[in-house]
């Protein structure tokens, strides 16, 4: 475990976020000085409750914030060592930063195959082999490749969303809640493939999740955020042993058994990360 932690510290960062602040509509401040880094070839998890600002963080990194009247007012985002400030979202995708948005966002009127074609827009030499790779990871998409993406089930749409990232062959994938609305079984399937992609292609990933147990299974390092800032972070092995994390994010008490939800709520009111 110590070895793994040391490896995280040594690897050069593919993404480095320092003290960013994000304001929506010139009025609502959502992020307050948030910093995190993703080391090359690692999966990093970003956890937190609803409204903590996880999705906003990803949008600030990929530049999609501008579409929602949000702005980065302070701090800096370095991707592959160069700042992303002033670069358009599509330019970042071409540089190898791929954002898989929350809620999948497949092109419903396009076929599965055309969805993948659209995702190759950011790279010059996509070939049939890249498509085969996606179909190898997700055989179900191959069966339905001629069908409209809008008719896929939720799980299949999530597979397609990840498949699009795969054909784009990026350096870093930002993955926003891949488990959203999926059954536990499907969630596990998706996360198995996320781990495979990371292991077989060395693609770095920043994964936002509500399902902490799942995220911990694939990530080597994790950040936990609350109301717009990081409240705790560390190697996953360390966090798994942390009493508070176990209680609030893994739903386990001291004995290791799942606790009654009412107790958790009671605890939460009394105890906060920051007071």
């Amino acid at each position: 475990m110590a070895v793994a932690a040391a490896r995280v510290a040594e690897a050069p960062s593919v993404l480095e976020v320092t003290n960013i602040e994000v304001v929506y509509n010139h009025t609502v401040q959502v992020l307050r000085g948030l910093s995190l880094r993703v080391p090359e070839g690692q999966v990093v998890a970003l956890l937190g409750s609803n409204g903590a600002g996880k999705t906003t963080t990803l949008k600030a990194i990929s530049g999609l914030l501008a579409l929602e009247n949000g702005a980065l007012t302070a701090g800096d985002v370095l991707f592959s060592g160069t700042t992303t400030r002033g670069r358009k979202p599509h330019e970042l995708v071409h540089a190898g930063l791929f954002h898989v948005m929350e809620g999948r966002h497949v092109f419903e009127d396009l076929t599965v195959e055309e969805n993948l074609v659209a995702a190759t827009y950011s790279r010059a030499g996509a070939s049939a082999r890249d498509f085969d790779l996606v179909y190898e990871y997700f055989p179900r998409l191959y069966e339905r490749r001629k069908g409209l993406a809008g008719y896929l089930s939720g799980g299949e749409q999530q597979m397609l969303a990840i498949g699009r990232a795969l054909v784009a062959n990026p350096r870093l994938i930002l993955l926003d809640e891949p488990s959203l609305g999926l059954s536990p079984l499907l969630t596990e399937e998706i996360f198995t493939i996320i781990a495979r992609i990371n292991a077989e292609h060395g693609t770095s990933m920043l994964v936002v999740e509500q399902n902490a147990a799942m995220a911990f299974a694939v990530a080597s390092y994790a950040y936990i955020m609350e109301t717009g800032r990081i409240v705790t972070d560390g190697p996953v092995e360390t966090l798994m042993r942390d009493q508070d994390v176990r209680e609030f994010y893994l739903g386990m008490g001291e004995e290791g058994a799942a606790r009654n939800y009412r107790d958790v709520k009671h605890y939460k009111r009394r105890k906060r990360w920051l007071s």
Binding site: F98, D109, L110
Partner: protein
């Protein structure tokens, strides 16, 4: 029943239908990419006719040069309109954008009347005049040429949308802009390109229509028939514009010949109502996928 007459009327109708399809294509391109209902399409077509007149008759340039310059001016016009009028309206209510294009149409009529006057004009003859016979049926060479140009263009676009990556990108942009951004598609450039290509297509159509029937500031009403065509065919379907264009061209010619010119409108709008009742999104238009 005079079969030869029927054949000739039908051929003329299909020829005119080709121009409907071509102009419909210009409309569909813009709608497909930007979801803007462009009611100025008839006036942009008219502008194409007049700009060609200016180059070919006013400046007495050779025909091929006048055609190329007209297409270039139309493309530039499309780019400027998109950048200055349409892009600031992104995210506004569709009705506002719709009204804006109506206003643009009126301005174009005014500008053309200021520059060239309100009287109908004749384009210099640039198309072959030798009569053409298909079997025994006579077809005007102009109509045949116009049809050939329209057919080639429409089919080319059909193939582009299916097999070219840029065509897929355009359809993706129309479907989900945020997702298109996240695929690395330069969304504003797609919008701009759609307007440029659509205006070039409309201007080409204007040169063909003008060569057959002459040009006048009121020729923008052609756009009204085209609106019927694209609604019948489906607002976002190139195939729909083609099929509906040909069919409505034929329908108008037949009713005009056998019932009288005053029944043309009656026939087309009856068709429009019938299609809307049965298929509200047009014959080939995509209807939203609802998953319950």
């Amino acid at each position: 029943m005079d079969w030869l007459f029927l054949a000739e009327v039908s051929l003329a109708g299909i020829g005119a239908g080709g121009l409907y399809a071509l102009t419909g294509l210009a409309f569909v391109l813009i709608y497909k990419a930007t979801r803007v209902v462009n009611l100025a399409i008839g006036e942009i077509l008219m502008l194409g006719g007049y700009v060609f007149f200016g180059f070919a008759a006013g400046l007495a340039l050779p025909t091929w040069l006048a055609i190329l310059l007209t297409l270039a001016v139309a493309g530039l016009f499309g780019g400027v309109v998109e950048r200055l009028l349409i892009r600031p309206m992104l995210g506004e209510s569709p009705i506002s954008v719709f009204m804006l294009t109506i206003g643009l149409g009126s301005i174009l009529v005014g500008v053309v009347e200021l520059l060239w006057g309100a009287n109908p004009l004749q384009l210099p003859d640039y198309m072959p005049n030798t009569p053409l016979f298909i079997g025994e049926a006579y077809v005007s060479a102009k109509v045949a040429t116009a049809f050939a140009v329209a057919a080639v263009t429409v089919v080319a676009f059909l193939l582009l949308f299916r097999f070219w990556r840029g065509g897929v990108a355009l359809r993706a942009t129309a479907g989900d802009q945020a997702a298109a951004y996240s695929m690395g598609i330069d969304v504003p450039r797609v919008f701009s390109l759609a307007w440029v290509i659509a205006c070039i297509t409309a201007a080409a159509s204007g040169m063909l229509v003008g060569a057959i029937g002459g040009i006048s500031p009121t020729m923008g009403v052609f756009g009204l028939s085209v609106l019927v065509v694209v609604i019948v065919g489906g607002l976002d379907s190139v195939l729909g514009a083609m099929v509906a264009g040909l069919f409505i061209g034929l329908l108008e010619a037949l009713t005009g010949a056998f019932l009288g010119g005053e029944f043309k409108m009656l026939a087309t709008f009856t068709l429009l109502v019938a299609v809307l009742v049965v298929r509200p999104y047009g014959l080939f238009g995509t209807h939203e996928i609802e998953r319950l």
